[in-house]
């Protein structure tokens, strides 16, 4: 059966998206946050902390994807256990 092997790794897609989001938000939180912004979110620098959190999520997914890469089984194996 003609079956093209393997999808791209979703974990890396998640890592890249949240890596970008995390860095952008952290930079905004560190360098471009004025008093009005801070007052709005009740004194919390929420951009900075969310950015750090998202970067951490990105790192987690990247690590997982690198440590446990997708193994694409042969078409025949994949059919048997289904």
């Amino acid at each position: 059966m003609a079956h093209k092997a393997g999808l791209f790794d979703l974990r890396l897609v998640i890592a890249v998206l949240f890596g970008v989001y995390g860095v952008v938000l952290a930079v905004v939180g560190l360098g471009f946050t004025d008093e009005t912004d801070l007052a709005k979110s009740d004194g919390l620098n929420i951009n900075l902390w969310s950015g750090v959190g998202m970067a951490a999520l990105a790192a987690l997914f990247a690590t997982w994807a690198i440590l446990r890469p997708i193994v694409v089984p042969d078409a025949s194996d994949a059919r048997e256990d289904a």
């Binding site: 003609a2 079956h3 093209k4 393997g6 999808l7 791209f8 979703l10 897609v13 998640i14 890249v16 998206l17 949240f18 970008v20 989001y21 952008v24 938000l25 905004v28 939180g29 946050t33 912004d37 801070l38 709005k40 979110s41 009740d42 004194g43 919390l44 929420i46 951009n47 902390w49 969310s50 959190g53 998202m54 999520l57 994949a78 256990d81 289904a82």
Partner: protein, 561 residues
């Protein structure tokens, strides 16, 4: 939907926020293009070639449900009714999801059916199959329309985009990636959407809790507010059900919502079950709804809590709750109003992205399940049989386009209804409540006849419609969500009674045709899943995972109920 235009919910979105939104859309479309490379048959397109790992299908399983109705509706219920809203999660989802994984999945996945209606065709033949396939296809297109309308409405409210333009843009994006990459693209995007939604709502909840003075501050303020301390406990939820007697209210919640409505929805709704059918093995398919149940149990904290907070810190919302609706704001706006109140540029962009992501998840789930049922259950079974597979792949793509176009049309049908939740609940109780009754009998009672299959379904659906009409016309007085709970209960009971009665006077289906479909006729080995290779390990045991999430839900009910 009432006119909300007077209420000023316009968000102060800047270039940064739009840039974050644009990045997300680029990723969504990119996934569509990447997933396209793996589509070479109709099964690839409509069922992801049955190749996905359990964590992906599990997150997609709940993300498919995390649409417009879910987010805005549940935050709205939180603002209006308080903690009682958690029943939609802890009573109304978790037990059914565990039941699906442990009890029903062996028959769904094991029988190799490609859709929920196809199970009915193999079990009962054409009658029940046609009733279910058509009602499902119609309901999905209607619900896709509701999701699209809600999305456009919100974009108009928050960003000032014209409603028709928003409907078309959102539909176009969903259409592009689902037509290109099929179910894989829809599922991969659902997983991405799940994380974006959490990334939007978790910071919102944290800022909101900080604003009201932490958990204790929340408790104090709700107690002092118009709802009183009653809104901090989930039981007996008399306000939510509209049933004044506390005992009957609890019965309504447990039987109506917890048993009939939620089991009907989670175990027979193909938009959900399809995610599990695309898993790569029986073990992964059984784990799909159970893995999804863990985040599902925790979502109330980032949806309902912000709703409650919105009713405290957004002045117009607090006024509405105190009985003053002059600002024109509605409970459905609780979430966007809180976002506008608390989040600065940057997180504001993420929050807008998260809301849009959730709407698109809903629409994509509707469309990608509609196209499968249309292609396999309607077109292939009744219109054009025995064509080569490429033909059905092309029909699948065309059905995706057709379904989306019809959804755009129905988007404007939704405009006439005040509470999105009521509208959807009504649809669910019409189609879903009797389904669960039929499936349970079908899987565990081999005697049940083919005629009983479709007559039971039709009778149950009519019972739900009858209760709905009685409640709408005021013959039965059930405000709140009580009418849909009672309607679902009636549909379930009528379906069981009629199915049993019809079975008694008709001939059973020959037993040799029921192997793999009915419990007592399926050899034990074929219901088992493998526990070797990628399915090995105690942490991959469906039963253990299921017990774990039930225990978690019990603890949550005791602590926060």
């Amino acid at each position: 939907m009432p006119v909300l235009a007077e209420a000023d919910l316009r968000l102060d979105a800047g270039p940064l926020d739009y840039a974050l939104l644009a990045i997300y859309f680029a990723f969504v479309l990119g996934i569509g293009f990447l997933a396209r490379r793996s589509v070479s048959s109709s099964l690839d397109f409509l069922l992801s070639g049955r190749s996905l790992p359990a964590w992906v299908t599990g997150l997609a399983f709940i993300s498919a449900n995390l649409g417009a109705i879910e987010l805005l509706g549940m935050a709205a219920n939180g603002a209006q009714y308080g903690m009682a809203t958690v029943h939609y999660y802890w009573i109304g989802a978790i037990p059914a999801m565990v039941f699906l994984g442990l009890v029903m999945m062996p028959f769904y996945y094991g029988s190799k059916v490609r859709s929920v209606p196809e199970f009915l065709r193999r079990r009962f033949g054409k009658g029940a199959h046609l009733v279910n396939a058509i009602s499902f296809a119609v309901a999905q297109v209607l619900i896709a329309g509701v999701n699209l309308y809600a999305l456009a409405f919100l974009l108009n409210l928050m960003l000032g985009w014209p409603i028709p333009l928003s409907v078309v843009i959102a539909a176009f994006i969903v259409l592009t990636y689902t037509t290109l990459g099929g179910l894989s693209a829809a599922i991969y995007n659902e997983v991405l959407q799940f994380f974006v939604i959490v990334a939007a709502l978790l910071p919102l909840t944290i800022v909101g809790l900080h604003k009201v003075g932490g958990w204790q501050g929340l408790v104090d303020k709700v107690t002092a507010g118009p709802g009183g301390s009653e809104q901090l406990s989930a039981w007996p939820a008399t306000e939510l059900t509209g049933i004044q007697n506390p005992v009957l209210s609890v019965i309504g919640i447990v039987f109506g919502l917890g048993f009939v409505l939620s089991f009907g929805y989670w175990t027979t709704n193909f938009a959900e079950v399809q995610r599990a059918l695309s898993a790569k093995s029986m073990s992964a398919a059984r784990r799909t709804p159970i893995i999804g149940a863990y985040p599902k149990a925790l979502i109330p904290f980032v949806v309902i809590i912000p709703g409650i907070i919105a009713a405290l810190v957004v002045p117009e919302m607090a006024a509405l709750k105190a009985g003053d609706d002059s600002s024109g704001i509605a409970y459905n706006n609780a979430l966007p109003a809180l976002i506008g109140e608390l989040l600065p540029n940057g997180m504001l962009g993420i929050a807008i992205t998260g809301l849009l992501a959730s709407f698109m998840a809903g629409v994509a789930a509707n469309v990608s399940s509609f196209n499968t049922v249309f292609t396999y259950d309607l077109w292939q079974d009744y219109i054009r049989k025995d064509r080569p597979d490429e033909y059905y792949l092309r029909i699948g793509r065309l059905a995706t386009i057709g379904g989306t176009v019809v959804a755009i049309g129905t988007a404007f049908l939704a405009a006439g209804y005040g509470n999105i939740m009521d509208y959807i609940q009504a649809l669910f109780s019409f189609f879903n409540a009797p389904l669960f009754a039929t499936f349970i009998l079908a899987m565990f009672w081999k005697r049940m006849s083919a005629a009983a299959g479709w007559i039971g379904l039709v009778a149950g659906t009519l019972a739900a419609v009858l209760v709905f009409v009685l409640a709408e016309t005021g013959v039965v007085d059930l405000p709140g969500q009580g009418a849909s709970f009672v309607g679902a209960g009636a549909a379930f009971a009528v379906d069981i009674l009629v199915s049993v009665a019809v079975t008694m006077v008709t001939r059973p289906v020959p037993e040799e045709r029921l192997v793999g479909l009915v419990y007592s006729l399926t050899p034990k080995e074929s219901r088992r899943h493998s526990a070797t290779g990628e399915d090995a390990g105690w942490y991959r045991s469906p039963v253990l995972l299921g017990i774990g999430v039930l225990a978690l839900t019990l603890v949550l009910n005791i602590v926060f109920g």
